[in-house]
């Protein structure tokens, strides 16, 4: 064969293959498909079994909830058409909307909701609260369920509608019967999108299609409440582990929306007229320095307290997200700034002039004897690593004997669960972030708890904080909640179970053609449309 005819043949073959590939046009140009780069890999499909943010975000697409939080962080009926509370506050009667269907075509019944609540109540911190207070749950009719409590709990709708992990995802009874410590295999929900399991390639692609039988509430979208009107037929989550690749894909219009652009790449993205860089998750994430209360030196509250004067929240935020103050909020107290319970009680411990010398004196007075302080640093999480580096530097500056140990996140989560002393593989401190919606109220604020070895990593013991938490559950109104929140914050400055480092509000980047994104918290796929 002559070279020229070979080349001609090859060119024809390529042209023919292009004509024979409508897929490409479909993948890159379909206006009805929203291409989204999530913060990480969707590895699990069960938002009750897993507490990862990404599983929760998946859950909000696929599952609906009985209540949803509005922009004002108040719970509003979502699957519920009506919600009545008996005069004694013990019985909550929830009537379901008539037009609720699961993705398999079955109607949502009250017993599906009960089975889902039971499963959720074994995993979620507020669910466990419900389990402790529960007298009985019953379904007097297919569209009505009654939750009877042993004592009043006004926060029940909030718990059932909160978007923080674990969400109370409503699934069919047959699926909800799965042991809560075993992952479900059938992702059937009644949310606005149906998961395309056959197309799922973990680590690369998760696809969703519009749930054709989904009927949104006849109201405008209001964060997780209101009408979840869907304007796309298909949502594709395209996992891109490399930030530079995601940025380039967004610039080249190969994707529409990138959830977690790297701070270093923001200037490049901002230069493009076709890309918007905005804070979508306004609730953000609260950074914190967590102490291990089981071992010296941080088993001593005076030593934990001594660290406060050297904590400069601004330095932490700058290290994590740069100079742009729109991306972070300081000062930040114990509760998420901007939410109803955020307050300024005693906040001057973090806002006054920073005084390392005072910290040194307090440390000496507290009896610090140069014990090694093992700090765990997740080298594969740039933001957390930055917070950790600043924390280590702060502790060194007040004379602490810091041993900063770098490791990957997988190792860190195992290591921090160890209760042994640091010299036997344990630890003394680490930095983390908590979703703003999690730490907006005492009920789901795990670092605030004081339930000792049964509690969250760090194992702080504080009967006073536990008592205040109980009081919050019974608080009759928001004014009472706020008073309790202020007391709790004052107690945190005294006992220092953790130190807040500021509220991070990293922006998201998306094609300017997208409009009406629902802001407030996690990425939501209703409301948003292509302009």
């Amino acid at each position: 064969m002559h070279r020229r005819s070979l080349l001609q043949g090859a060119a024809l073959a390529l042209a023919a293959s292009r004509l024979a590939a409508p897929y490409l046009a479909l993948a890159q140009g379909n206006a009805r498909t929203l291409r989204f780069v999530p913060q990480g890999n969707l590895a699990t499909l069960d938002p009750v079994w897993s507490t990862t943010t990404i599983a929760r975000n998946h859950g909000l697409l696929v599952y609906d909830t009985l209540f949803g939080l509005g922009r004002d962080f108040q719970a509003k009926p979502q699957m519920a058409q009506a919600h009545e509370v008996s005069a004694d506050g013990l019985t909550h009667t929830i009537t379901l909307r008539p037009e609720l269907y699961f993705h398999d075509g079955e109607q949502v019944r009250a017993r599906d909701c009960i089975a889902s609540i039971v499963r959720w109540s074994k995993r979620d911190v507020l669910g466990q609260r419900l389990a402790a207070l529960l007298q009985e749950m019953r379904a007097p009719a297919d569209d009505r369920l009654e939750i009877v409590l042993k004592q009043p709990w006004p926060g029940l709708p909030w718990a059932l509608g909160k978007p923080s992990a674990n969400i109370c995802a409503i699934m069919p009874e047959r699926i909800a019967a799965t042991d809560p410590f075993t992952q479900i295999t059938d992702p059937v929900g009644s949310g606005p999108f149906r998961f395309r399991r056959a197309e799922w390639v973990p680590g690369s692609l998760a696809a969703y299609e519009r749930h054709v039988h989904y009927v949104p509430r006849d109201e405008p979208a209001d964060f997780l409440a209101g009408g979840k009107a869907v304007n796309f037929d298909r949502i594709e989550w395209r996992v891109m582990p490399d930030p530079a690749t995601a940025a380039a894909a967004l610039q080249a219009n190969e994707v529409d929306w990138w959830e977690t652009p790297l701070a270093d790449l923001l200037p490049v993205l901002r230069r493009s007229d076709e890309i918007a860089v905005e804070v979508v998750n306004t609730a953000g994430a609260l950074g914190m320095l967590r102490f291990n209360h089981l071992h010296p030196p941080f088993d001593n509250p005076a030593i934990r307290r001594a660290v406060l004067p050297v904590i400069d929240q601004r330095a932490f935020m700058q290290a994590a997200l740069g100079e742009d103050q729109a991306l972070w909020t300081v000062p930040a107290g114990v509760f998420t700034p901007g939410t109803p319970l955020a307050n300024e009680a005693g906040l001057e411990v973090l806002t006054g002039p920073r005084d390392p010398e005072a910290a040194k004196r307090a440390l000496a007075a507290a009896g610090y004897r140069n014990q090694k302080v093992v700090i765990l640093a997740p080298s594969d999480f740039p933001t957390l690593n930055a917070l950790t580096e600043v924390a280590a530097d702060a502790l060194r500056r007040i004379g602490m004997n810091v041993d900063l140990q770098a490791m990957d996140w997988g190792t860190l989560v195992q290591r921090r669960a160890k209760k042994e002393p640091p010299e036997q593989g344990g630890w003394n401190a680490f930095c983390t972030t908590w979703e703003g919606l999690d730490v907006a109220v005492p009920g789901s604020h795990q670092p605030l708890r004081g339930n000792g070895p049964e509690g969250w990593i760090g194992w702080a013991t504080s009967p006073k904080r536990e008592a205040l938490r109980e009081a919050w559950f019974a608080a009759p109104d928001q004014a009472a909640e706020k008073r309790i929140a202020e007391e709790m914050q004052m107690l945190v400055w005294e006992e220092a179970p953790f130190i807040p480092l500021g509220l991070l509000r990293p922006p998201q980047a998306y094609r300017s053609s997208l409009t009406d994104l629902v802001t407030g918290g996690p990425p939501l796929f209703w409301g948003v449309k292509r302009g």
């Binding site: 410590f181 973990p202 690369s204 891109m240 582990p241």
Partner: protein
Amino acid sequence: MFAYVVRRILATIPVMAIVALFVFSLLYIAPGDPAAVIAGDQATPQDVERIRASLGLDRPFLVRFGEWVFRILQGDLGVSIFTNLPVTTMIQQRLEPTFSLMILTLCLAVTIAVPMGVVAAWKQGTLIDRAVMGFAVMGFSVPVFVVGYLLAYVFALELDWLPVQGYTAFSNGLWPWLENLILPAIALGGVYIALIARITRATMLEVLQQDYIRTARAKGAGQRSILFLHALKNAAVPIVTVIGIGVALLIGGAVVTESVFAIPGLGRLTVDAILRRDYPVIQGVILLFSFIYVIVNLAIDLMYTLFDPRIRY
């Protein structure tokens, strides 16, 4: 020959057994706990323990290893701790992109590197030789991800000729498939081209000094005939050996390349699994890579007989 092939294939069994034991032991003693990763931030130690128990991670080493080996003998690589999908399914999903990338890179590298090496040897000491060797040094020195970023910037972002990322299955057409792989293959092929070109040049230089080359010249054979028919065939054994060794290089490079170009291949599957401590997936993928490597080496050994008839098994 047939007996040799059978012997070699049987010899893979103990090799795979040793790899299996090694991989399992390594993961057992490595830090990290998938149960803690699954449980997440809100979990209490009791929750983590319950998840660990439900995954069977609390059982003794020998019990777990025995069960794993028993399943492997039945062709079952287990189920991913996180996705709940069979490991074989996850590997099947990723095989095509990785093999496509490796095969295209291999073809590209051999097509470019062998003539480069031959020409460099022929023109030894000239500017062409220095340029080829300069390219080889650069190929070794510049990391794959840097080449990848540069290529994506120039050809995808600036010129808009090719996509930045992704993979399209071959069944969707030749061009869509090729379009997504050209840049990754060039990026990954850099080191490989450098390696093969250097070995080809060195081997050709040695062969070109041989008496039979002088004889061929004396007989009036043309330069092309001398280089590609007489010399290259006799230089082929070390070149083929290097190509075989380079497969390991490709597997390692694929991890980075797949990340840079967001290709859903085995390399990324491995990295994701390691970061999450998804033991069944890690074990399955490493076993597969080991098997591929053993088979490639066997194929290389058999190819020697094609290039050198004196070699007999």
